[in-house]
């Protein structure tokens, strides 16, 4: 699959949609406490707003049970608080974020589900893409910035409900020429985020030194899309494009595909379990005939 065709960026006004992972289950066990992480991110957001006064930042929190907008620089009240000790950005964002986390926890208590699950990336991605629709992309360049702590991933199968939704969002972003940058904080690489960035022409980064998170964010993700063409950005270390079979959910690098619905199987079946098509044997005769003709 070819990466997204790059658009010519005439202007360096950027609209940055930041998707934050606020899944509390991930942050508790972290060697980077959530408060430290937030201070890195806040400095990063501030620096973007300072780079160009027309720049805009929208932050969407991705929780365990729901997603919501927590900050929008065009709506910032700009009054600050508590004797002006805290800038407006931090005050607004922190207040909203607190409300968000309280609500997320409530929803968590209501739902009786146990165990760890991945954050609702597909939800916040979908919201962000709807939101970008309302900005005039001729006068600013939009990019999505995903900052995620850890990602659970059941493989690339349609039986993983998040998979189809996330891929749908990625393709929609590609069509709108919105690059998805991803900053992934975890031990292994995330195939989802790697694919998202590769397909949309964004940058995928897994910071090595978490103490310097701000440095990573500001040098890689704060650069507008126009300037990126002049920079040496982190190169991809390879992308995993393997698939999972629908029958055993095994990761495979070779398999059979139903020509009707494109389901993936690891071995030859007589009938497609997804669409019910029966695979004829007569096919192979025709096939060899056409091969002979060549």
């Amino acid at each position: 699959m070819a990466p997204a065709p790059s658009k010519l960026y005439a202007d360096d006004v950027s609209l940055l949609m930041v998707l934050l992972d606020t899944n509390p289950l991930f942050w508790t066990s972290s060697y980077l406490p959530f408060s430290n992480f937030l201070s890195h991110v806040l400095s990063f957001l501030n620096s973007i707003l300072l780079l160009n006064q027309l720049n805009q930042v929208v932050v969407i929190a991705t929780g365990y049970n729901h997603c919501d907008y927590v900050f929008d620089s065009s709506l910032a009240t700009n009054q600050g608080s508590e004797n002006g000790r805290m800038p407006a950005l931090c005050y607004d964002l922190l207040q909203k974020l607190e409300e968000f986390l309280v609500k997320d926890e409530q929803l968590h208590k209501e739902g009786s589900e146990k165990g760890l699950a991945s954050s609702l990336l597909s939800g916040s991605l979908s919201m962000a893409l709807c939101c970008i629709l309302f900005y005039d992309l001729d006068i600013c360049t939009a990019s999505l910035c995903l900052i995620f702590r850890r990602f659970f991933d059941q493989g690339h199968s349609i039986h993983n409900p998040g998979y189809v939704a996330i891929m749908n969002s990625i393709f929609s972003a590609q069509r709108s020429m919105v690059p998805i940058d991803s900053c992934y904080i975890g031990s292994n690489n995330s195939a989802f985020l790697q694919q998202a960035s590769y397909i949309t022409g964004g940058v995928y980064l897994k910071p090595q030194q978490l103490d310097g998170l701000f440095q990573y964010l500001s040098t890689v993700f704060a650069t507008d899309l126009h300037s990126r063409t002049f920079l040496q950005l982190p190169k991809s270390v390879g992308v995993d494009f393997r698939a999972s079979c629908f029958c055993h959910k095994k990761t495979i690098d070779m398999g059979y595909i139903c020509s009707v619905c494109l389901s993936i199987f690891c071995k030859h079946h007589k009938k497609c379990s997804t669409c019910g098509s029966v695979f004829g044997q007569a096919q192979s005769d025709n096939e060899s005939a056409s091969n002979l003709k060549r």
Binding site: D72, S126, M127, L133, F152, S236, G238, G280
Partner: protein, 420 residues
């Protein structure tokens, strides 16, 4: 967070554009003058007989609802593997300027859009481009699965001259399409400007051979209806239409992007063996099997024979395995899990309950209150009950294929077992 106006990124730039919002957007300068010429077409009479600009938003939305209805009425197999040749007539008739700036330019522009849309809807299918000029057909691009190479060839210099020949085009295409595997659907789409065809032999025979090889031929005319085109389409099960103007042409050509229901009957289901190569690191260097030269940077490694190829989808030059990436297949999975159409919130409900209803669109956070705090038309998702504005409704169903409301709530999602 419900003041829509404030969110506009650049207030001043926006004001200038306000007038031609919707129809002036993304148009070239010459197109805009053209649009201005026909300014009377964007007027309508209201109840009292006064002229008013047409409410484009409502119009677009109505069009979209219609599309959605027809789409859900004719549910067809979507993963069909199609092999389509687009034949572009570059005879001197294509230089005519009844389409601005010329038929050729209009065709090239919309074929580009068509190619991208086609690969979005038919991920494993292939397209080839053929041109007719001076009565001779020329293969502009071979059958291939990458939109970029076709678009690049289209952007090259296309000159028009001489006569046009349907028979020559069909003969050439027939030769290529006869070689494709039998699970593939063979199709030809001819974009025909000329009013005649200048053939070396009996075209009726050629039409019969096409019919026998199950090649579905469709024609979009740019001038007037011609008998031979109509006959060709009738015989081979294709569709024939003549474009009235540019927007009609665009509509007609995009109708060919989703697989036509009729060809589903020709389909023989089959399992195709495929490989999913991994992309190598950007810093690696290897000799690729397609260009036979050492290349730095990412390439893909065939899982069966470990040969390196530069691009996906492709066929491995060494072992013949079809190589694709899993996201490529995922492009069509939204057909397997279609998103339900949203319900329109009735006006009476809106007027009675608007204080209790959400004030902003769940997707984009734009206010759903119009002038004078009157509620705007809106839709709601039958599953998650969230409200959406009309723009988001169209975007969600035509491009995104996810409901942001349903996706951002956790409902019986299985617990993940392993960290990757």
């Amino acid at each position: 967070m419900n003041n829509g106006e404030e969110r506009r990124l650049n207030g001043e730039a926006e004001e200038d554009d306000d007038e031609d919002e919707g129809n002036g957007r993304g148009l070239e300068a010459w197109e805009r003058t053209y649009a201005d010429e026909r300014s009377w077409e964007s007027l309508q009479e209201d109840e009292s007989g006064r002229l008013r600009p047409i409410d484009n938003k409502a119009l677009y939305h109505a069009q979209y609802r219609r599309r959605l209805r027809t789409a859900s009425a004719t549910r067809i197999q979507k993963g069909l593997i199609r092999y389509l040749f687009v034949v572009i007539d570059l005879s001197k008739a294509a230089a005519e300027m009844d389409f601005r700036p010329s038929r050729r330019a209009v065709v090239a522009k919309h074929v580009e859009v068509f190619i991208r849309e086609f690969f979005d809807q038919n991920p494993l299918s292939q397209i080839g481009l053929v041109t007719i000029k001076d009565g001779v057909t020329n293969c502009l691009t071979d059958l291939g699965g990458s939109p970029e190479s076709h678009v690049k060839a289209l952007m090259g210099k296309l000159e028009c001259s001489g006569e046009s020949s349907i028979q020559n085009a069909l003969d050439l295409v027939h030769g290529y399409l006869n070689q494709i595997p039998s699970y593939g659907h063979r199709e030809v789409l001819i974009l025909y400007s000329a009013l005649s065809t200048c053939d070396p032999g009996d075209i009726m025979e050629t039409i019969q051979t096409c019919k026998k090889s199950k090649i579905r031929c469709s024609v979009i005319g740019l001038s007037a209806e011609i008998f031979i085109c109509k006959h060709l389409c009738q015989e081979t099960g294709g569709s024939y239409s003549v474009a009235l103007d540019e927007s009609h042409f665009k509509e007609l050509i995009l109708e060919h992007a989703p697989p036509p229901p009729a060809i589903a009957e020709f389909a023989i289901a089959n399992l195709i063996k495929m490989g999913f190569p991994q992309r190598a690191a950007e810093s690696s260097i290897a000799i690729c099997s397609c260009h036979k030269e050492a290349k730095a940077g990412g390439g893909y490694t065939c899982p069966r024979c470990k040969a390196r190829v530069c691009e996906l989808p492709t066929e491995c030059r060494t072992c013949g395995l079809t190589l694709i990436s899993s996201p490529h297949l995922a492009r069509s999975y939204h057909h397997l899990f279609p998103i339900v159409p949203f319900d329109e919130v009735s006006l009476s409900l809106l007027n009675d309950l608007y204080r209790k209803l959400p004030r902003a669109c769940f997707g984009c956070q734009q206010t759903l209150l119009g002038a004078g705090n009157k509620p705007c038309p809106r839709v709601s998702c039958p599953k998650c009950k969230q409200h959406f504005c009309l723009d988001c409704d169209i975007y969600i169903h035509e491009s995104l294929h996810n409901c942001p409301g349903c996706e951002s709530a956790r409902h019986s999602k299985p617990v993940a077992a392993t960290e990757e």
